[in-house]
Amino acid sequence: DAGVTQSPTHLIKTRGQQVTLRCSPKSGHDTVSWYQQALGQGPQFIFQYYEEEERQRGNFPDRFSGHQFPNYSSELNVNALLLGDSALYLCASSLRLSSYEQYFGPGTRLTVT
């Protein structure tokens, strides 16, 4: 049983560019959450998707957007990249919004130069 998978593993972009990160949830899970983890810090909640809709959003600007597909996979899009967007982006999946347990993928390391 595959766990949460994310692609790509690493990514280097230039300021002002746009990036798309992808996540496939653990089999049977229907809820996907995205987090940003800056170096030396804990993860910060970006948003959560359930039934193809954004259900919750953290304190992130509109440059951060997402999507969930009918097969529950998800994308995170970041427009107009800033140097400060350099971080590890983590995807987590769970069964239902209210589930206590989230399963995390290994993350995508984004470097903005």
Binding site: S33, Q41, G42, P43, Q44, L90, S98, Y103, G105
Partner: protein, 113 residues
């Protein structure tokens, strides 16, 4: 507002000695609390969770944590450290209003041979 504070950014212990990672929380409600572990280049893994049942919670790999409401603490312990325990540990509180996870800054556990 709910928040969590990890009192030590780094903890160093010798292999075979006890581990104590400290966490304090602030919450208006009876909180749901978690400890996650992050090994280098691996995804976050749930160690244990407290969801208002028994105050002493046992997790994986010999770790346990005790919920103390009077002290607003949820410290993580292990009787005997192993080299494989070297990792970053995060204390997390869950907002019951919308199920968002609020993360501490993390404690890096270093195991000396």
């Amino acid at each position: 507002a709910q928040s969590v504070t990890q009192l030590d950014s780094h903890v160093s212990v010798s292999e075979g000695t006890p581990v104590l990672l400290r966490c304090n929380y602030s919450s208006s409600y009876s909180p749901s609390l978690f400890w996650y572990v992050q090994h280098p280049n691996k995804g976050l893994q749930l160690l244990l969770k407290y969801t208002s049942a028994a105050t002493l919670v046992k997790g994986i790999n010999g770790f346990e944590a005790e919920f103390k409401k009077s002290e607003t603490s949820f410290h993580l312990t292990k009787p005997s450290a192993h080299m494989s325990d070297a990792a970053e540990y995060f204390c997390v509180v869950r907002l019951d209003s919308n199920y968002q996870l609020i993360w501490g800054a993390g404690t890096k556990l270093i195991i000396k041979p």
